[in-house]
Assembly symmetry: C2
Homo-oligomer: 171 residues x 2
Amino acid sequence: MEGLKQYIRSIPDFPKKGILFRDITTLLKNPAKFKQVIDVFYDKYKDKKIEAIVAAEARGFILGGALAYKLDCAFVPVRKKGKLPAGTIEATYELEYGTDTICMHKDAIKPKERVLILDDLLATGGTAKAMCDLVGKTGGDIVGIAFMIELCDLKGRDKIKEYDIFTLITY
Amino acid sequence: MEGLKQYIRSIPDFPKKGILFRDITTLLKNPAKFKQVIDVFYDKYKDKKIEAIVAAEARGFILGGALAYKLDCAFVPVRKKGKLPAGTIEATYELEYGTDTICMHKDAIKPKERVLILDDLLATGGTAKAMCDLVGKTGGDIVGIAFMIELCDLKGRDKIKEYDIFTLITY
């Protein structure tokens, strides 16, 4: 999928000095490329009997909504603490300084439900691992974890290596 | 579209006492109902030559991503300040106490581009009006504004009455 890479804009020193930010908005505003991304994910998972896509705010919602529609499956949002209105389960992960917590409704996934975890970016893997923990707490079955972009140097893959991982664009 | 209403969960006193929160996550986890929502929007706009959907984080991204895929158009995210990496334009709107600011990349929409603004909820109309202001600054053409839910008592419609407004579920 290296044909997609030229549609990702690289922005130095965002959100802070020394970080080269991979901006997907330039891809999202190209209808053919946005469609290609979703269709590649669809082809990968269409025979896997996916029942729910779990995706984290905010950018994960864009791809997750589109793929859930195409796969004809449920969409389950993972959000920062305090954003989901009903009873939640939580998972905490390490940041460079401190920790962060993400939440999912505790009734969002049924035991044995076949789940695809989807996000735009695999960096250190902290969020992805926390999403796996959330799905694990519900008893859901993680069929795969998919990302549009993987930043290989950060070795996020090591945190979730027991799962089937699929990435479209690597740096 | 009153058949959709039973899939919206109403949660009292969220995010604070006295607010009856309309929770769309129960609809999103029903594949047939999520599909129905997107297909109704698609039927409404499929002949309107929509070139871009503009949607605000976070919940607007779920519907916006799905509908942009189906309409084969661009997806343009509107985000809180500090989240978009390239040059932005801003719009500010009033909250109950204070103000909030939302941003869009300044190169996201071209002059005359045919835009659909989409969000999950029309409440006071502050965010919707600010999104209209953002698109207006780029010279884009607002073909319509669509919401899954309209809270009629809050009269948000009055703030954006010069536009074509479409809502699926009303309270």
